[in-house]
């Protein structure tokens, strides 16, 4: 692994470790997707993971929320080993993590408002309708979707769906956000808006984030640190500028 950011790592070391991954392995059948993953994420940091399609980026974040159990390695979130958690503890852990799906994954039988209310009522167990409304309206305003509050997901554009999906994860005030390709399928202008939104969220809600993308502009806007995934390993790590100027042909191929 190429360590290009000695300065920066030193500066974030004083923060608490939100995520600690060491020697993570995962195969599907004979196919080795993750071979040896090491990753530490500090509180308040935005980490971007670059990698070509099918390299296993989504698998990493699915392991973090316990949707996929790894074959080997250490995987600690908020200091807890995910594989050792029982169902109840895992559920509790998941409420502290926000996961934005590639497709947005809005519940298409419910309106935008009901999509927001769903986790509030079931996970935070809020019963006070005034409080629920207040939180829903606030989060929708912060993603700029307040006018569409009573629309069905099928009536929303791709960008609006992404925002709504984002709002639904933010409504629970997560400490760690996992973004799975927040800008794919969007035009450049909307992509830039979403990327800026990700940055705003980091500032406003003080979240830590892992952002998976192959959109360079998104990476440039959001990243505190960039990692490049290839053949089941991180082959480069550093600031966006450092990665961009890398001489390695695998790494530089992303910027062409």
């Amino acid at each position: 692994m190429w360590d290009l950011t000695t300065k920066e790592t030193a500066s974030v070391q004083e923060h608490e470790n939100v995520l600690h991954i060491k020697g993570l392995k995962k195969s599907f059948g004979k196919k080795e997707v993750l071979r040896d993953i090491d990753l530490d994420v500090k509180r308040g940091e935005n980490v971007v993971v670059l990698g070509k399609s099918g390299s296993g980026k989504s698998v990493i974040i699915q392991c973090i929320v316990g949707m996929i159990s790894p074959d080997a390695g250490v995987l600690q979130v908020f200091g807890e080993e995910v594989s050792s958690l029982n169902e109840k503890e895992l559920k509790k852990l998941r409420t502290r993590i926000g996961f934005l799906f590639q497709s947005g994954a809005l519940y298409d039988s419910m309106t935008v408002r009901e999509n927001m209310e769903f986790p509030l009522m079931r996970i935070l167990k809020l019963r006070n309708q005034a409080e629920i409304d207040k939180r829903v309206e606030e989060v929708l305003k912060s993603v700029g979707l307040f006018e569409s509050i009573d629309k069905m997901p099928s009536d929303l554009s791709g960008g609006m769906r992404k925002r709504a999906g984002l709002a639904r994860t933010l409504v629970l005030n997560p400490e760690l956000m996992l973004y799975d390709e927040p800008t794919t399928g969007l035009d450049p202008i909307t992509s830039r808006e979403i990327s800026n939104l990700v940055l705003q969220i980091q500032k406003k809600y003080k979240t830590t984030a892992i952002i998976i993308t192959h959109d360079m502009e998104c990476a440039a806007i959001t990243a505190d640190r960039v990692l490049v995934l290839s053949d089941g390993e991180f082959i480069a790590e550093g600031s966006f500028e450092a990665i961009k100027n890398s001489k390695d042909k695998h790494v530089s191929s992303f910027f062409k």
């Binding site: 039988s109 419910m110 309106t111 009901e114 069905m152």
Partner: protein, 258 residues
Amino acid sequence: MKTTSGQKIRTGLFVMAGLAVLVIAVFFIGNKKGLFSANFHVQGMFKDVNGLQLGNNARFAGINVGVVENILIINDTTVKVVLSLNENVRKFIKRDAKLSIASDGLMGDKLVAISPGGATTSEEVKNGDQLVAVNPFDMDKMIKKITGITDDAGSLIAGLSQVVDKVNHGKGSIGRLLNDDKMARDIEGTVNQAKTTIANVHATTTTLNTDLKAAQDNFLLKGYFNKKKKKAIKARQDSIKKVQKDSSARAQAAQPKQ
């Protein structure tokens, strides 16, 4: 999507309708089986219940008034049948009522028929009473009887065919009568004799006729006969008159043949 109140109401109506069907069906069928009205029990000891089943109907005067509630084998020749009957019909069934096993139509279910009773007592039946059981018609015995009759008929037919055979060959008196001319001439005397006999019969029936009339008057005076019986007698007289007519006609018919 949240359910609107209209949808909730329609769902509610749907559920109510379904449950109503269930309740109504349970009520009607239960009512038919006498589950929801006051009941009392009677029992009878049968030798053979002929395939009677639990839940079969009990009938009184052709009306279903209850069901067979229990069938128990008491010993090798006794089966106890317990009936659960509607309380409303208790006053019509007397303690000397009889139970019998019958069928509803040719292929229908078995049922227990209750005859009203009342010939020897007017006391109504009580809960738990044991009634007299008339044992069902025994099919095996009936089949034996029929076999006996057919055997008899067989030998009868055999004898008859022998007789016919003999007649055909001019043997025996009837054979000769039919086949011999001389014999036919002898009949003349016989017929003459028959004519006298029939005249005698005529005289006798006329006497009988007058006797009967007298008897009738006698009974009428006593006011013993009702109109119906009078008619019956008249019919009988008519038939006797008819016999007289017939016999005289036959006698006359026999004469010209001489």
